[in-house]
Amino acid sequence: MFVFESGNVAAATGVKLARAQVIAAYPITPQTPLTEKLSVYVDTGALEAEYVAVESEHSALAVCIGASSTGARPFTATSANGLLYMSEQVHWTAGARLPMVMCVVNRGVGAPWSVWNDHQDSISQRDAGWIQIYAKDHQEIIDTVIKAYRLTEEVCIPVMVCYDGYYLSHTYMPYEVPEQDQVDAFLPPYEYRHKLGPENPTSLNTVTLPSGRQDIHGNRVPGYMEIRRCLHLELKEAIEVYTRIDSEFKSIFGRGGNPIAEKYLCDDAEYVAVALGSMSNQIKDAVDELRGEGLKAGLLALSLYRPFPSDFLASELSGRRGVIVFEKALSPGNSGAVFGDIRAALYECSSRPFLRNYILGLGGRSYKTSDFCCAIRESVETGSEHCDDPAWIGLNR
């Protein structure tokens, strides 16, 4: 069934289809319509879930932590400062290996205050140990939420499904809503192996010594460092798991096949643009325009950002003449965040393309398709010149 609805509603519908059981809701622009829609679903009986209107984002994730640990499928959503407020819990969830899905409706972080879109919020949490997947249209939002639940419950690593505030959350697009019975077949009920309760009483997430010690049976058990290392290794494993899940999703629903990135005109591209989120749609138009001028441009619309798909990117980008990374987030004092990761991934390549980094859209600063065209042309011209600093699109002169 096709509908014409907003990105927030697409996300809410995905959560409903995934049969989330506990929803923690705290309002923050531009996420609010998502949790409002969920309240309608719950109050009308369309979704059987406990709706907990918490008093802060830190508590929102606390509710989800409590719920997931007790064996119920949780959901929450946030943006910007809300995500930062719950940052302690974000790290906690990953370290506790709790299955969880959270939508981050990307918005710029204060200070200064901004309610408009950029990626600094989720990017700032990239080292917390969560899986991060960026959707670039409403179809991807609803499909990714469903896939995310399957993924998180298989690998016991929480998943952030990110999509652009306003550009996606508040705009309307047609998309197909999967059938409930098909989603039920794809996503079995949640089972948590360390479920709290009298059947198997354990103390979850206790204090852990630096060196580790023996258990009550005298066996030496993995310590803090092993537990954190395990998260890291299994995050890397998650790339393969997600690829498999995406493939299964495609066989049932007919959509997918690009779990890591969608390639647009990349086969013979000499200059490849890389971007996260909805700006990829505009970059496709820019690529078309440049192709019209005879420039062999292409786009890698990156979707899976953490775990970072180094091998995939190295293999796709090695041998190109140039790679231009467009992004809406910064690692201040260094470079764009995604740019830094890509540069590292290409370090070992025998044939390294030149790399250019463009920062745009911070705090919702608008940008045009022609900006992407100019940036790519400019990069092609200056390509071989060494350039450390990112360039900026759309600064007020």
Partner: protein, 102 residues
């Protein structure tokens, strides 16, 4: 394709005594009970049991002659302090150390 088995290591703990080791080693004083003064012991039936009730570490048995688990008794002395008949005295560990050599 078979998914690789994931370890999913977490810090979940299972219950057992002696998380802090042999906490009896914390003591400088140990409780010693005079059963001629102890009410349940004298009466030969359940009575009083303040020492059992107030022990923070559940090392007193709720038996006709209450016994102390010296493996874990931390020697706080609350039992002696609260015993209504002063049947319990706190005795220096050093005076019984030789008898009790591990």
């Amino acid at each position: 394709m078979c998914p690789k088995k994931l370890d999913v290591l977490t810090s979940d703990s299972y219950a057992g005594p002696g998380d802090a080791g042999r906490t009896g080693s914390w003591r400088v004083l140990r409780p010693v009970i005079d059963y001629t003064k102890c009410t349940p012991a004298r009466k030969g039936k359940p009575a009083c049991y303040f020492c059992w009730l107030y022990c923070p570490d559940s090392v007193v048995s709720k038996t006709i002659e209450p016994q102390f688990d010296l493996e874990y008794c931390k020697g706080c002395g609350i039992c002696a302090e609260e015993c209504p008949t002063k049947a319990i005295t706190m005795v220096a560990e050093s005076s019984v150390a030789d008898e009790d050599a591990d």
